[in-house]
Symmetry: C2
Subunit: 128 residues, 2 copies
């Protein structure tokens, strides 16, 4: 995930071998496919090329027991796409994991770090 | 942080304006400076160019109330460097934050995700 009070960013990735099975970008794409009903429209909505969206879907579909995105017959470009039942479940669990982690981050260590962190960085020294 | 049971990676970044004040790479560099006693030796130990190590130290030093790394007189290349008291404290709190978050990640959502995640990805379809 990437989530912030400005100051803390937390990124969660689930890996399957060398592939990233789920992460902030894939979760966002999955949600967009659910809304838009096609990979190309979802990609467009996120400012992502069709090729990039397709590659993310392909990676997701290869990493889980069942595909997370089901494409309708009619060709990859022409047909629609939907989030499978497993896809909906994976998305919900990923969001729940993000929430658990976020709650746990809001404790003493973050308060101590926040107290010493400047609002804005000082100007850079010249390196030379 | 980046930490894993292979499958979950969690990356924590603390931001100060547009700069990253602390993250996995900076924490590792800080620890290496503590061990090695100089920025250049620490960079070498991590396979990082001197310039890159210096830029990370510069960013860290500009983001907190006090510098995290103190350089000894004698020139940036020649002199030694040490982790300041604040640097040691920030590092300890960052590691504590990582630990809290890691513990919180090991719950039901991760178990559910892990149950549906393949050990290795299926082979890729051909895109064309």
């Amino acid at each position: 995930m990437e989530r912030g009070d400005d100051r803390l960013k937390i990124k969660l990735q689930l890996c399957c071998g060398d592939e990233i099975a789920m992460g902030p970008g894939k979760a966002e794409l999955l949600e967009a496919i659910g809304r838009e009903g096609s990979i190309s429209a979802a990609g467009r909505a996120l400012g992502m090329s069709y090729r990039r969206a397709w590659l993310l879907v392909d990676a997701m579909n290869r990493c889980w027991d069942q595909p997370l995105v089901e494409t309708a017959p009619g060709g990859k470009h022409g047909g629609g796409a939907r989030v499978s039942q497993l896809g909906q479940s994976v998305l919900a669990q990923y969001r729940a994991l993000q929430a658990d982690v976020w709650v746990a981050s809001q404790g003493e260590p973050l308060a101590a770090l926040g107290a010493a962190l400047r609002k804005a960085p000082r100007g850079s020294q010249n390196e030379s």
